[in-house]
Amino acid sequence: MMGKYRSVFDIIGPVMIGPSSSHTAGAVSIGRIGHILAGGMPDRVIIRYYESFARTHRGHGTDYAIVSGLLGLDPDDPKVPNAMAIARAVGVDIEFVEEDGDSPIHHPNTVVLDMVRAGETISLWACSIGGGTIEVRRIRLGGYDVRPSGPLPMLFVEEDGRQDDVDASLARIQAVLGQEGEPVRKTIYPMVDDEDRRMVGFDLDHPLSAAQRERIGSLSSRIMYLE
């Protein structure tokens, strides 16, 4: 059984701007996932906090941390505490909501991001499990409803067309992942309204190299790599 924490640097690290690894550094990482899913800073975002996040987000700098991530900043970027001003300057519409109810994904450090970018709506359910490590529990975008089961990193590849073509394409991606012949941990999510299109999620044991990302990018028109 693979643990939620895999690397010694999940424990010793991250190097970050204070004050909280879960409510600040982890929040930056959740924002960064939002940035990747939206393909950049969203035009409009509603940031919904639950439980401990709802109670202590102001004291922990969670607001500017999430916005930093949405802007694409790293947790140790000195601009992190000024992220709200940066986002306001580029005209992003941001709303914070302190939800009263329990977390919909059953974790006290939960945030849900409802984002709009270029007319497309994207939602992300994530939690910060401690020490800066996060979990992505649900993603809704482009007609897909994805519920990942394992820790990051993860790769999502959109496939359509005949089953034979899809199988061949997946085999090529698996070859790049270096998992040839091994049982690959993957999950297939059909599009809600179009069963011929599907999103394939791969659970990865370690981060992809730049070369691997480039090669996979050339194999599919739509990929999302979350780490």
Binding site: V8, I11, I12, S52, H60, G130
Partner: protein, 291 residues
Amino acid sequence: MFGSIADLVSAAEESGEPISELMIREECAGSGRTRDQVWSRMDRDLDVMLAAVKRGSEGRGVFSKTGLSGGEAALLDKYRRERTTLSGDTMVRALVAAMATNEVNAAMGVICATPTAGSSGTLPGVITALRERIDLSREGQVRCLFTAGAFGLVTANNAMIAGATGGCQAEVGSASAMAAAAAVEAAGGDPQTCAEAFAMAMSNLLGLVCDPVAGLVEVPCVKRNAIGTANALICADIALSGGTNKIPADQVVEAMKSIGEAMPASLRETGVGGLAGTPVGSEFRKTIFGD
């Protein structure tokens, strides 16, 4: 990946290597990176820790925006230089390093989370003491971080390290236990002695709640790291002398987990109960946030 502290200890005993070395090898295998890459990343993390200690203890120190914390590490250092301390010079230097780190954290400075930002002062405090007391080399200091990381990984995977899920026992308690194990290895103790020190340090802080005033990582967090450091050094000494915890480390981790799960939400990083809920604690919240 090590499933338990018992696994970690028996793997180290079988190979005849220190736990830090096992952690380095495991990290190389898991990440696909070379030993040099893994080592130099940890070396940089140590630099960040030492820089935060320096920044928080030099001159008048650093102060948070809210005014709730700051300047007390520098004050303690000045006191140490001018007076005869009650707990001894090495101990007080260690406490200065621990508090300085968390004051920098509260002032939104750069720190290295070990395992969390709220508990980031505990390990630098212990490393400062080891440098003073046994003249621990740079290499030895980096090794401390790998040893601490190995124990922290088991704790994080088998219990929790977030105040919101397990209270302060999961943050400063874990940091203190990790640091105690690292101190034992640095002082030449064997893997089982590391595990005893870990078990003792965690046992001593079981039940500690996370009750940050105004929801800020300042009061009581800064001084909780001072106790994390002192507790780690005390438990390392007891273990090195041959003292044992009686309850094995893995079962202490299990106990920490079940205590964390039994804690009410008001005492798990919500800024509601405990010190946060006292009249003065509530007053601070009103003054800082206006509600």
